[in-house]
């Protein structure tokens, strides 16, 4: 079953590549079909298991579903997949946004349709793999695998940026940033495995086994930083973020949707799943720095967003700001905040995807992403402007929508842990209002550039946006099912961190 979840996108991608022989429509239908199948299967998994009960028992996690096969026995590498509440929610988001990514490029991508969908679906497949893998080698395998199709997506179907930098440059920058940080991750993984080997004389890359590795504070710190930096680049945490605006502004809409909605979440997932449980003590030590980095990201992202002319760059910077909240939440190690992180990730995935799709729709109509060349659009287009308002409101954290729940929980939870950080982060909400409203202000209001009306939304676009809006409202009003699903995982992490906290003073005394 779990293998199928990974295989469906890969096979679907290959089929839709070959389906190009039967006309330009065929690949799209095959791709949507594959994504829909993935979504339905994930939903089925959601209802099939009870995720709220998977509590930590005797130091081992309980998985809703698990699969383990030998892969490379020479190094103790297994094909080990497992599912719990956190990975399930992430996969739901992945499958849903995957579907949207296919649909939103329905009229945007006209060249090489089959190959486009091959890449799109392979990204999804690799991301599903990332969310399911429990063997570190396998995880790294998928982690790197999603880069290659993303690279092709940006460099072959991307747009030229306003400053005239080519899309290939942006794609290359993206690839080198993530690949170099990926090598760092690989070093840290091999280092961790080696430390484990020195203790037990067993080569294994298995998550459960590695979790119980004992190491000195210094080793733990070094290895943790390897993980942290690798995830920080993908996250992106502010000093490592410079690939993101470039990649976003040059990527095709579907690429942006995948990038903002799914790829960034793999980093947060990696921190929650790997970086923190492997290295609880070092994470504890890093927590204040990480939280301040998060605050910095929130504020920096917001200010930078405000200054952008390119609407996609603007949204890219808002992602940095939103992911800053996620970082604060993760490193507060507080269950409420971490629950907020989950909601925030889902909500941000949906709202950023919505904004990117919208800017894609504007681009298709206006052939520009420059806010200076927009203005007064609300009098020219029917349908799009109010929906834009909705997503801008979601992005600024209006109560009643998912983002509000996420940010609110994060702030409440982390306030108990670090008041100063939380207070500073709260300014992000105000700044969020500023950059969200500036989109509305510059794009929709003001004098119109011309009186010519522009085509409104068609049914495909409308239903796409409607589904996103419904989900955001649902997350805003009734996030309980989501919270129930992830609560066990987050409770485990909190418990783990508490025991680590209890142990930390002892360690420092010993030193």
């Amino acid at each position: 079953m779990l293998t199928w979840l990974i295989l469906i996108p890969f096979i679907g991608g290959f089929l839709s590549w070959q389906a190009e022989r039967f006309g330009p429509k065929a690949p799209r239908f095959v791709a949507v079909g594959a994504m829909f199948l993935l979504f339905v299967l994930t939903l089925k998994l959601w209802f099939a298991h009870d995720y709220s009960l998977a509590h930590l028992s005797a130091g081992q996690s309980v998985w809703a579903d698990e699969l383990r096969l030998d892969w490379i026995p020479r190094f103790g590498i297994t094909f080990h997949l497992a599912l719990d509440g956190l990975s399930l929610l992430m996969m739901l988001l992945t499958a849903f946004l995957g579907m949207l990514a296919v649909i939103c490029s329905w009229s945007e991508v006209k060249r090489k349709v089959g190959f486009f969908h091959l890449n799109l679906l392979w990204i999804i497949g690799a991301v599903v793999g990332v969310f399911l893998a429990l063997d570190m080698f396998l995880f790294f395998f998928f982690w790197e695998m999603m880069l290659v199709p993303m690279y092709f997506l940006i460099s072959l179907w991307g747009h030229k940026s306003a400053e005239g930098k080519s899309r290939v440059d942006a794609a290359t920058k993206f690839f080198i940033y993530t690949q170099a940080s990926g090598l760092l991750l690989l070093l840290a993984i091999v280092g961790l495995v080696f430390v484990h080997y020195l203790q037990t004389q067993v080569w294994t890359f298995d998550y459960e086994a590695l979790r119980n590795t004992q190491m000195s504070a210094k080793t733990e710190m070094v290895l943790m930083l390897g993980f942290f930096i690798a995830f920080a680049v993908k996250f992106p945490i502010v000093p490592f973020h410079s690939w993101l605006p470039d990649a976003h502004s040059q990527a095709p809409t579907a690429g942006s949707v995948d990038l903002a909605g799914i790829l960034l979440k793999t980093a947060a997932y990696g921190m929650l799943r790997f970086a923190i449980p492997f290295f609880p003590h070092a994470s504890q030590e890093l927590a204040p720095i990480a939280m301040w980095l998060g605050v910095f990201g929130v504020i920096y992202g917001a200010f930078a967003a405000y200054a952008q002319d390119d609407i996609k760059r603007l949204i890219a910077y808002t992602s940095i700001s939103h992911m800053g909240f996620v970082l604060i939440g993760i490193y507060s190690f507080n269950q409420i905040a971490m629950q907020g992180v989950v909601v925030q990730m889902l909500a941000h995935g949906l709202s950023a995807a919505g904004l990117f799709i919208l800017s894609g729709q504007y681009y298709e109509r206006l052939k520009t992403r420059d806010l200076n060349k927009m203005g007064g659009l609300s009098s020219r287009i029917a349908g799009l402007p109010p929906i834009t308002m909705f997503f801008a409101a979601a992005s600024l954290g209006l109560p009643g929508l998912g983002n509000f729940v996420g940010e609110f929980l994060i702030l409440i939870g982390s306030f108990k842990v670090n008041q100063v950080v939380t207070t500073c982060a709260t300014t992000g909400l105000v700044l969020g209002a500023v950059y969200s409203l500036i989109i509305i202000q510059r794009a929709l209001h003001g004098p119109a550039r011309s009186d010519e009306p522009i085509a409104g939304m068609n049914k495909r676009e409308f239903f796409m946006m409607l589904s996103l809006m419904l989900l955001l409202v649902w997350l805003g009003f009734y996030p309980q099912p989501v919270l129930d699903t992830s609560s066990a995982v987050m409770a485990n992490i909190e418990q783990l961190m508490h025991s680590a906290q209890a142990a930390t003073p002892a360690v420092s005394v010993a030193q």
Partner: protein, 489 residues
Amino acid sequence: MTLTLENFQALLPLLITCATTVFVMLAIAIRRNHWWNATVTVVGLNLALLSSYFALQAIPQTITPLFVVDGYSIFFGALVLISALGTSTLTNAYIESSKRNREEIYLLITIAAAGGIVLTMAHHMASLFIGLEMMSVALYGLVSYTYDRARSLEAAIKYMVLSATASAIMLFGIALVYAQFGTLSFAEIGSKIGQTPSTLALVGGILITIGLFFKLSLAPFHLWTPDVYEGAPAPIGAFLATAAKVSVFAVLVRFAMIETKGAFFVSAPFAMTLFVVACLSMLVGNLLALKQNNIKRMLGYSSIAHFGYLFILILVGGGGVGLEGFAVYMAIYVVTSLAAFGVVTLMSAGNAKRDADLLNDYRGLFWRRPFLASIFTISLFSLAGIPLTAGFIGKFYVIKAAVEAGPLAWIALIFVVLGSAIGIYFYLRTIISLYLAKKDMFRFDAQMDWGQHAGGIMVLGSALFILVIGIWPTPLINLVEMASMIWQQ
């Protein structure tokens, strides 16, 4: 000394390769027909490859003071034979269109292959030198085989002069070692240097390794590489990158690590030199490839960097993991290079003014020849060490060995990471040009039925190997473990 039947059994791959040379020569004398002569070559080389299996039954044994046949020599001998086979199949289509004598090139390939096999078996300075010269002299001829191209001639002369210089340096080193110890056998040199450390022998050892470094084109002895790769006909480029390097590296490792038990490595200046050479190669190879518009030159630089990684693997991994990783990495590298050069060869023809080696010649290849471009993509990703391709498994071995080895190796790790990050840039640059928009005119194109030629099938097979080993490396690891168990006896 008399040779027994068992000796002959162990030497079978070498004997059959030499016999193939004779047969090809006779075949050319009987009838000058391209297809028939090529077939004789390929059948002979295949027989030699098959005979490796029988040779495995008769090992390990020392045959005269010159040769030792063990799992190690058979494994690398087989790699040399595979490279030679790949080269021959590629040559077949490439040289077909040529007007001049097409048949002698197979003669040279088999002679060079025989030299390579001698190197893998050598554990004596004399056989080392004989093997090296046997291969190099044949290579001069191969590089200049398309002699109506000025570049080809230039490359051959450059290669000959520099290679002869390197050989002379090496001979001098051998003489110094001999003057000190009075023996030419690797094992005896190793044991003597262990007992009486001597500066003279150390200098000799360094000179010998410098000669070998030159053949391996490790920085700073790499200056000939890009020119020769560019000038040589594409299939010969494949041979230079694979067989010529595998055999030299095999004998270098045997000399420096196995037979002398790392006796040279014990001395700090020697080890430090090797370390610096390895790091420099990784950096230089990747940096110089950055702005390369010529694919053959780019592959040349890439091979410099790859031998840097390999060298680190050997240096830090030592006898156990190091040798296993070395063998795995080498096998992967050979197949990957064959695939990459194979695509270049398939795109080129021997009678054209130049090979299809500019980046521009490949623009939009994917939209005309999806499979050929995919193979090229796969092999370039494998050279870059991206997961899902075999190259990643090789890189994994390097990183694993270096992480285990301790602080000095971690410095090397920095170079590995840095080199890989730089390397990605030019591999990507090449790859993406395969997918960019079509041009209206193509100066070069593969034949329509490339997939049905021996060369095309070989390239397809290599790409399949890269993918399969990238996803499921266990068979290759098991094979190497089997071989290494034999060579550790």
